[in-house]
Structure formats: C-alpha cells, structure tokens
Symmetry: C2
Subunit: 723 residues, 2 copies
C-alpha cells in the first residue's frame, strides 16, 4: 500500500501546478538541513560514497546506536537510493565507540584517548576495494556526532581525500533557550506557538520532538532549556515534571539533555513557604527535595537557568542576598546529581541608578570567585539587549574565576522578526573574534567563552531559540541557518561563518553552484545590511515600544528612561549619540586596554560603534567616507534599503534552481522585508531630520509619508510580546 | 531537479523506520480527505474511471474554472497516475456551466434550469467507447461543486452506473465560524493557533489558505467568518481590511466568501464617536461608511456576524434598544451590496432573572417579524451551550417570519478537546431530525433551518470551527470528520451521518473494507459513548470551570449561579436533575405540542433528556432497564469507559491497514481518551455518591482516587480559554 501511495507523489510533483503539488512536497522547509535528497548518479560524490552506503556497520546496542542506524538508513536511502547494513567484518563503513573502537582499531586508540566524550575521529583507510571509512569515538554520543559529520561531508560534496577528521566540542554546554510559556506563547517568538504541547504531554509524543532532537544532534547541540526565563513555577509541579520527563526520554538517544528555567520564588508559589530567602534552611531544603524529585524522573537532568532580580523577576536581592548566594543555594541542591546552574547576568533594574549598559558588569564583576564550581554566569553578547549590533559585554574577560557563558539571540526580537532575510553567523563571528586583551593580545571573546583564557571548569554557549510550530520551524527558511550556525559555533567558536553558510545552503537549498555562491553571498552581507537600515553607526534601541516591531526613535514616555529610544540615541539639534567615553558615563572604563583607549576617542573608535560611545555634532566628519555625520547616516539608511532590494533581485534570479515552495516562501518574505526596510529608513530619517534640520541629500529619494504618519502607526497584536 | 528530489520519497517511505519516514510522509493528516492516493490498477474503480482521466475538458475561463482544472489534474494524476486535458469534442469527461452547458446539452437545459446557482448535474451518457460523463451547472461554482462530487464518487469507489446525480444545497449560507482572535489565540480551539497569520498578511499567502479553501469547497462550505464572535474592533481598521481582502481574494475562486464578526461598539472604539446607539444618525452613518469601505476592497464581502448583549459584549440593549433595532441598523448598511447580518441568539445575561435555558426564546420569539429581510438569527442547536447532548432550542419552529440559522459546534469545547475520539454526525442528525411540530408532524428542525417549514428568504447553517495550525488541522485525525460532516449536512440536512462517515473514512484513511466497517462503526457510536462517561441521562454543564476541561460537578462558587454545575444538576441526598417541567421552571412550555406534553412527564420523556427536564429521586425506576436512577447512572458512566476502551482495541486491530503516522496519532490520542474517560467516571461517581449515599454496584471497579484528589486538580493552562 504505502509504496503505491508514495509512488504517486512524484507524478504529482512532476505534473502539477506547484500551488497544489507543494501541499505534499517534502520541500516545505520541515526537513531543515537533513533532506538527504537523491544525489545525481553521475556525480563524483555519488561514486565516491555509494560503496559505504552499500555496506555499513554500527556497533553497540544503546538507544543512541539505534538512532545512528536509523539515521544512516534514512540518509543513505535518500542520498543513494540504497542502504545495506552488514556485519562488521564486511563493512566498508564502520562506526564504533568505546572498547569496540580501541580493540578493533588499536592504532587509533592513542588519538582517541586525547578526545573528550563527545569527540570523534573519521578516518579513511586502505585503497580501492579494501578502502574503509571509520568513525571512532569514546562514547555512543561521540559516534552520533561523527555520523552526522560524515553525512554532512557527503551532503556538501566533500572530496573523500579530505575525509580525515578529528573533532571535539570546544564548549561543554551547548544549549537552546526556549522562551516558551506554559500557554504555548513564545516570548520573542515569531514562528508560531511553542512546539511543546504541554496539554497533550506526557502521552502524546509529536513527531516534531524527535525531529527537533535529530536536528540539534546534527549540529552538536547537547541541551535545551524548555521554558521561558521569565519562568512559571508550574513547571516544577509533579504533573509537569512527568511531561518534562517524556521530552527528556525522547531526546536522550540524541544526546540532548533537558534543563528548566526556574522562578526564584517557587518555594512560596509552589511550596507554600513564607519566604524564598536563599540562606533559610527550609528554603534550601525545599529546593533539595524538589531537585531530588526531578532526578527521580530524569536521572540525567541538566540543571537550572535563572533570571533573578531583573525586569521584575524575584531573586535573592529581595532578601538582601547577592546573586552568588542565590545561585549557590541551587548549585548545592544540584551538585550531588551533577546538575549545573546557569545564572543570567542580564540585570539592570537594581537600585543604584547607573547607566544601563554598565550595570551587569558592576553587579557581577565583584562577585567573581564567589560562585560554586557548578555555576556558570550567562551573559548576552552585548551590554544592552540583543541589538542588531553591540560591542561585546565587558564581562567577557573580566572574571578569571567565574565561567562566563555566552547568550546569543537566534530569534529575531530586534532584527525584523521572521520576515527579514538575516544570517547571524557574521554577527556571532564578530563578537567571538573580538579581542578582550584579558591575558594580552589574542584573548578573544571566543577563547574566553571556551575556557582558553581562564581555565573554567564548565564552559557553554546558549542560543535563544527561533523555533515554533510553523511548518518550516523558524517562520522563514533562511532563518533556519541561524539555528544551524549557532550549533556549529557553539561546537567550534572559531569556525568561519562563511564556511557554515555554504554548508547550510548545500544541505538545505541546493548543491547547485550558482545557488551556493549567490545565497552565501547574500547571507554574508545580510547582517550588515540590516544594521544599515535599522541602526547604523552604533545607534541602538530605537525600535517600537514593547513589541520592538519597526522604528520608533521618537518614543520618550515609558516607565523607565532607559526603556526609551531617546535615552539611547540622545539626538538633539546639536548632534547625536551617547557619550559613554570618559567625558561621559565612561562605560569604556569597563573594557581593558588598549581597547578601552581605542573606544575613548571618536577618531579611533570603530565607526560601527561610533554613536554607541560618542555624542557627536551633525557635521562631524566621518573618516572612511569624508561625509558629514548627517550625510553618512542618510547614506547608510538608503544603502541598507538598496541592499534589501538587491536581496530580492538576486533571490528571484534563482527561480527554478530551488524547490518552488521554498523559493516562494522566501520570495514573499523578501517583499515584506523591503517594505519594512523602507519604513525604517523613512521614519528614522524624518525623525532625525526634525532635530538636525539638515536636508536629505538631493540624490536620495524622499520619504513616502510624513513623520506624523509613521508616529501614528500602532501594532497591538505584533507577535512575540510578553504574556 | 524536482523529480529526482521527489523520486526518493518513495524509497525513503518504502525502506525506512516510520519514525523517520513519516517526517516527509504525505500521510500526516495535512491532506485531509483530498488525498487522491493511487488506485489499484486492478480495481474496478480504476478500470471504470481511467478513461475519463485520460480525456477531460473544463469549460470557461474564470479563476474557478482554472481551480477545477488544477484540482482534476492533481486528483487524476494522483488516482490514476495520468491526466490529459483535451478539447471538448474529444473529451470523455466534460465539465461545463452556464450558456456552454445549455448550448452543448440542450436536452438537460430544463433540468438545469430547475437548479439554483450552486447546484449541479452529473450524467453518464452513451455506451462503450462513446460513453461520456457530463458535469453540468448554471455557474462555475456549481461546476466546482459538481467536480468535487465526481471526485468523491471515484475516491469512494462508487459504481459508474450510480453516477446520475442531481444536487443543490438546501441552505443558502454554509459558513464556518472561527473564534480566532487577532493575537492568533483561538477561543475554544484545541489544535494550535489560528491559521490566520495577521502579522504577515496581506503579503504572505500561506499555502494553508489555499488548501483551506479547497477543503471547504469540496464539502460545499461557501463562507467563513474569520474572527471571534467576542469581536475585536481592530478587524475593521483599514490595514486589517487589506489583510481580510487578501484572504477573500485567495478564497474567491473556491466560492468561499469572507464575513467578519463585528463589535457593536466599534463606532466608539474605532470611530471616536461618543455613542453606538443604533437609532442615532451619526452611528448609522459610521456603519454605512465602514461598509462602503469594506466593499471597496471586497466586492463580494458576505456580511457581519454579531454577538450582542451577551456575556459582557456591548449591544443595542446598552441604549434600551432591541436586538432587532441593532441588527437592522447593520442590515440597512449592508443591504445595498447584498450583504447579510447573522445575529446570534446566544443571550442569557439580560436583566430579567429567568432560568437560563429559557432566555433566548423569551428574548427573540417576541421579535419575530421585526428584522430586516437580510437578517438571520443564529441560534445554537440547544438552549444552553454546546453540551455533549441537549434537546433542540425551542426557537426552531417558533419564528415564521424570522429565519433561524443553525449554529453547531464542530470544535470540542465540551467534548474532550482534541484527544477524544468523537464523531458529531449522529449528534447533528439527532437534532436535525427532531420534530418541532411547528406546522404539524414532520416539521423537523432540519426542515425549519432549510426553509421547508416557513418560507425564509435566507437560510443557513454555521459550524464553530475546530481548525488550527496543527499539521493535521484539527489536532486529531478523526476530528477532521466533524468538519467534513458539518459541510455535508449544511448542504443536505437530511443526509445520513453513517453514509457521510463511510465517505470520510474511505477518502481519509483507507478503502479497505475492514477499515471502513470498523472505523465507521466506532464513529457512529462515539458520540453516545462520550455522553455516557460525561453527562448521561440528560445531565449537563458539570465540567471544569472556565476551561471546561474535565469533570467538576462540585463547583458552586462562580460569579453567576447559572455558570455553576450545581445549578444544572441540582443533586441532593434526595435526588438529581433540573425540574424544567410545569411543576418546575416550565421551560417545556417553550416547546410545541405534543412534544411539550411528552417532556412534561418523566415517564414519557426520552431517557436521554430525563435529568434535563426532571428532578427525580435516586431510586426512581428507569423504564428501559428496570434499574434505579442511581444504578443506571453508575451503569452508564462505567459503560462509557468500557466503550472508550473498546475504541482503543478496535483501532489497534487496524495497525498495518492504515498509514503508520495516521495510525499512531490516533493511537496516542486514544490512550489519553481512556485516561480522561475514567477520570470523568470516577470523579462524577464519587461526587454524586457523596450526595446519594448509595454504594457503587459491586460488579463495578472502585475509583482509583478519592473525591478530594479529583477536586484538587487544577489546569491553569488548559487550551482554548478566552483571551
């Protein structure tokens, strides 16, 4: 039955109007980068690798070993139209781990012993008929990672000769953070509801849960924090822990551990205690009991993520205790089971009325050394809040004794939601490659995070997820690449964003060289493009209030001054920008020399950060272009829109080379992208012009509407708002 | 490219572990009943119909004519693996409408002229090589319906001989009501978010919108109310009307008109007026202008649905005006464009403190004749609120001069959300076939609704949608059948629920006789089963507060008495049931003789309504069984659970005969169904026992927990709650 049923799919797709055919097309984006579409039999890749698909062996009997076999069977039948599992002796592809690996291949035992539990070796040995590919690892999870790496090499058409690989992750904890609420609303989520259907769990296991684990394993992500950092205590209720257990059991074979965000006041909300003071024994005991209950259900539970004393969340500060005292209480409860605490440094709501960009550093730097050894402090990449571009947070490199864990945004809170074509690889790369000088030159943020500067016991990287119920997972096929690159960079912080982009395009869209070259090029410039039409030259936080959708640099009337755009751009008739230099709030003092001095002077400050650190007159001369600051601002806003128009044109030129349903989805999003880029440009230009009084250069098109129009727009139901 | 890409789908599906294969399977429920899977070449159906697939012709040049061709091409390639469109002269299947039909086939012109605009004829003429199938209609939409009817006949393996068909809808307005909010939350929705992505509209047209229109057209649904009856005024804002227009343009070729729910206070909320009093000229003018604006965008806009002066919604009552005065103001604005008003009779919050089940009748019966001729009053099937079973609303048959439009629930608010296996066909059928005696015997509810009792100018049926973003549309594949049967019964109120169930099973699951017989049987008894374990013998409204999830007959402390379960079951140590007979609140007086008298006496009241109309002692003797009321109650609760267990067993016996991903989805839901049926039984038995003091009969298993346990359960995030 099934074959007949499936047979006709090809007829349908071949003969039919895409509007109907794509209904049942596998190309709607659901399969992500694990498509394994049939290779051309004439291709070198096919010829090179088909022998291994015809005789492969996977050792071991664990659930993970089964997962590896399932994936190979699926992938090889997809790529080659054939797959044969054979006994180890006859296998041309041998995947073994642990004792099997060292006994069968003692010659590689030494190299293997140098790898950690998640690392792997891929070897190509022998010649001609005798040629074999070996995937060796110390654990089944290592073998799983090695298998996905091998599949990626095939999917991307890697030459067999280049197949000798040794790899292991450079960070320990590589997690997604889901800002998902129990009602399935995703805070700052733009691709539909939470994929966690709490109501139907633990009994109903959606196929998505399995495919989610496969996708994460394929890029080395080894953990997931299931719920929002603005946490709901209900997640720790016994019935919800059963639901969490069901997900943990589903993810386990793929090496993905579950973590939970916890509300610091849970002992009161859930336990009925009269306090959550971390130094009180009964509070400590409540957490010890709760943690024991969790590990009863989930023996390999990962640990807790905590947002405390920030944006109204409860925390140790409510009792006059430090973040360290709060984190340590949880760490002590988790320690016996090997669990960890990820304590967020995203705080700015504390009493001392300090400039917002400086507060996290001021709060956490003095606590260095006071945290238990199973605590990591999780810091956003920049000192403010996931802006299109920020300088790195000065906490990186500032704490020799406290591991700083990177928190990157994968979701698009300040980057156009799910309709803007933005690849974040270059943004991650820019941050990770910046030098902190913490131990002299070369102490990059990436090295700090991966423990290469200070010998942290644990290291990690977190990515705030962009995943939702949309069929294509992320609301926009191109945005799948941000999930992909986050995983790759968490595994290897110094991997090249361009190399990763190429892999992603080949695996997700097509191996066609024109597609690979063209899309990779668009992706690599897309982040700079977005900065241009949103917040050029170091501008930041000038977007719509609350939902952060669209431009609103004019807003000046929110609960806190440091929530308003005017607080950040400081534009007046005299000039624009925030003086954070020594003559201003001096946040540059939080950076180390020589970077500090560089940032202190507008002439040596990188232009991309100019208005972040300096307030400058409208006629300040921009070194790179010789333009006045006003003209340069105009130039960048207009350039950004041109670049977005170019994305649309370049994409349209690929029609026919990409599956139609993928092509159309991105094409429709590109139209919205262009409309919104113009909106950003025109609204910002008109507003800043109302202060600068300068003309929009003659060679530039005039805005479509007047400022009042843009100021009148409201979006009460823009997606992703907190609730 | 595409073919190669698609080719491998079959390999994958054929060789692979379903957990992976089903990722890209077409069998995940998305295709609904329009699967068109390849027929067995040996089958009579294939032989009978393949000639027509090889030479077909569709007349006309409208977008609808194009839609017909697309569907045939898609369906024939699916069913037969071939499809050839030819010129009319050579065609063996000819689909023509209007002048083409009457000119080409004058011999059928007379029969055609008796059909309305949406009707169609299917004729099989000639013999052997000369045999042709004709689909004739007066309009392109009629031809579209005829084409889907023909495809259904093929999908369900109908003998060619039985192919002479004449059909036209017996109601004019066949609409889905989406209780979808602008934030994409679906009130009483259990299959994920709203499919309307307002944020990305009007530019981004999701493939789902097209497939939604196809599915509706295939069952004769000709309209959709896009937004919640608890309406948000923003839907009438110019930018939102552009979004509505984009959907209208997408649906138009499929004959699906868009309607909007409107908030009565829109003139104040949106227009800035100081009143929304329907007799004020400025208010009337505001609506006239708004309606003109709508028709500017959407020339075939359907009209408005209104929930007024009910559950806190604003309405004409706020100004001391009647529902008629409110409805007529909107009707006058819509009249010039052919638009209509659907005014809901679901009101019970008015001043006069009357028993809830009586209020709609008391309010609307006196208004009969006062409504404009483009107003329909939309009334729920029962006098309370979508309970698992209710007697029909006495408004049906009570208003000779005001069309009563049926409102059925398709969604599962009081029926177990999306995890209970419940086919609603028999429930719809029970209501539609009940005799109102409005014009003597045979004046069934169905006849009243379709204008066969009183000559209504407009007739209609509305179904509150169960559609959401879940891949299978309704959260449970079986629940797709409720969308299907609603459409079929709106078209033909006297169609048999069993016949429709069979069609649905064949089209959605399999033509395998064992599957058809077994699943149809389960579906036909599933509604009675649900009534048994939830609310047997006429019990009603005893479910959890607010979310209506699970049992809570003990709740007695809500804002209004008539929101509490205890108000409805009236159980005491002496007995149970609501005395609505002449000796009680006498709601039976709202029914016509002889039904009224029948319901006035417990001995003649149908047992299914016993406790709806009568308060009876626990030892009251049940005629059909001879059991005491208490024992009968116990018997039915326990029987219901046994029946649910049987659904699971029967379903499991079909493994291998149904696509695995379909099979598993239902299998997992069945497990939840059984758990929750036991929960209903045990919680209700324990609670009623606490009042009756009677023992649970010895032959019945004892509840798993005590009453306190069931009373302690809370579900703050149960889906579908209003917000």
């Amino acid at each position: 039955m099934t074959t007949i049923k499936q047979l006709l799919l090809i007829y349908i797709f071949f003969f039919f109007p895409s509007s109907l055919a794509s209904i049942i097309s596998g190309e709607d984006g659901y399969r992500l980068w694990l498509k394994y579409d049939r290779l051309n039999q004439q291709s070198i890749t096919f010829t090179n690798y088909v022998p291994f698909a015809q005789s492969w062996y996977v050792g071991g009997h664990s659930a993970t070993s089964k997962a590896i076999s399932d994936e190979l069977e699926y992938a090889f039948n997809g790529l080659f139209g054939k797959s044969h599992r054979v006994v180890q002796q006859n296998a041309k592809l041998v995947i073994v781990y642990g004792a099997d690996a060292t006994t069968l291949y003692p010659q590689h035992a030494r190299q293997l012993s140098r790898l950690n539990d998640e690392g792997y070796l891929i070897k190509i040995v022998g010649q001609g008929q005798k040629q074999k590919v070996l995937v060796l690892a110390n654990t089944d999870i290592g073998a799983l990672y090695g298998s996905y790496a091998l599949l990626r090499k095939i999917q991307t058409g890697t030459n067999k000769a280049a197949l000798n690989l040794e790899s292991q992750p450079q960070t320990d904890i590589r997690v997604l953070n889901h800002w998902d609420n129990p009602n399935r609303h995703v805070e700052r989520g733009y691709s539909g509801q939470s994929i966690w259907n709490w109501h139907k769990l633990p009994t109903y296991i959606d196929q998505r849960y399995i495919d989610y684990a496969r996708a994460n394993a394929s890029i080395g992500i080894n953990g997931t924090v299931l719920n929002n950092v603005n946490a709901n205590a209900i997640m720790l209720r016994p019935d919800y822990l059963k639901k969490v257990k069901a997900l943990a059991d589903t993810f386990r074979p793929y090496g993905v551990k579950v973590y939970l965000s916890v509300k610091f006041s849970s002992p009161q909300l859930l336990g009925g205690l009269d306090t959550s003071d971390p130094v009180k024994t009964k509070v400590q005991q409540w957490w010890k009991d709760k943690v024991a209950e969790i590990y009863q259900e989930i023996p390999d539970f990962g640990g807790f993520l905590v947002k405390a004393n920030s944006e109204g969340q409860p925390g140790p500060g409510d009792y006059g205790r430090t973040h360290a005292e709060g984190a340590n209480m949880l760490a002590d409860a988790l320690k016996p089971y090997g669990g960890i605490v990820m304590w967020r440094a995203f705080v700015y709501a504390n009493e001392k009325n300090e400039e917002r960009s400086k507060q996290a550093y001021s709060e956490f730097k003095p606590l260095d050394g006071q945290f238990r050894d199973n605590v990591l402090v999780q810091v956003k990449n920049g000192p403010i809040d996931f802006q299109p571009r920020e300088p790195y947070s000065p906490l990186f490199g500032a704490t020799p004794n406290t591991p700083m864990m990177m928190e990157f945004q994968i979701t698009m809170e300040y980057l156009g939601f799910s309709t803007h074509f933005v690849y974040l690889g270059p943004m991650y790369e820019e941050v990770l490659k910046t030098d902190t000088y913490a131990k002299g030159q070369g102490s990059t943020v990436g090295k700090v995070v991966s423990g290469g500067v200070f010998p942290y016991k644990y290291t990690g990287m977190a990515g705030v997820s962009n995943i939702g119920m949309d069929r294509n997972w992320t609301g926009h096929i191109i945005l799948q690449s941000n999930w992909f690159v986050f995983g790759r960079m968490a595994w290897q912080p110094d991997v090249s964003a361009e190399e990763v982009a190429q892999d992603w395009v080949k695996m997700t869209l097509s191996n066609n060289q024109k597609v690979v070259d063209s899309v990779t090029k668009l992706m690599m410039s897309s982040h700079e493009t977005t900065v241009n039409y949103m917040t050029p030259l170091g501008l930041h936080h000038i977007m719509g209030t609350g939902h952060h959708y669209g431009p609103a640099p004019w807003v000046d009337n929110l609960g806190r001054a440091d929530w308003t755009p005017v607080y950040y751009h400081r534009a007046t008739k005299d000039g624009i920008g925030f003086n954070r230099s020594p003559s201003g709030v001096n946040s540059v003092a939080q950076y180390l020399s020589p970077y500090r001095e560089l940032l202190s002077n507008p002439d040596t400050t990188p232009e991309k950060f100019l208005l972040w650190f300096h307030h400058l007159p409208w006629d300040y001369k921009i070194k790179s272009s010789g333009r006045s600051l006003w003209d340069e601002l105009a130039h960048r806003y207009y350039l950004g829109v041109e670049q977005v128009a170019n994305i649309g044109e370049q994409w349209n030129a690929l029609e026919g080379l990409i599956a139609e349903s993928q092509f159309r989805q991105v094409q429709m999003s590109n139209l919205i992208h262009l409309q919104e880029a113009k909106w950003w440009r025109d609204a910002c230009m008109l507003y800043f012009q109302s202060l600068s009084g300068k003309p929009i250069p003659d060679d530039l098109a005039k805005p479509q509407h007047d400022l009042k129009y843009y100021q009148s727009l409201t979006f009460p139901y823009a997606p992703g708002q907190g609730h």
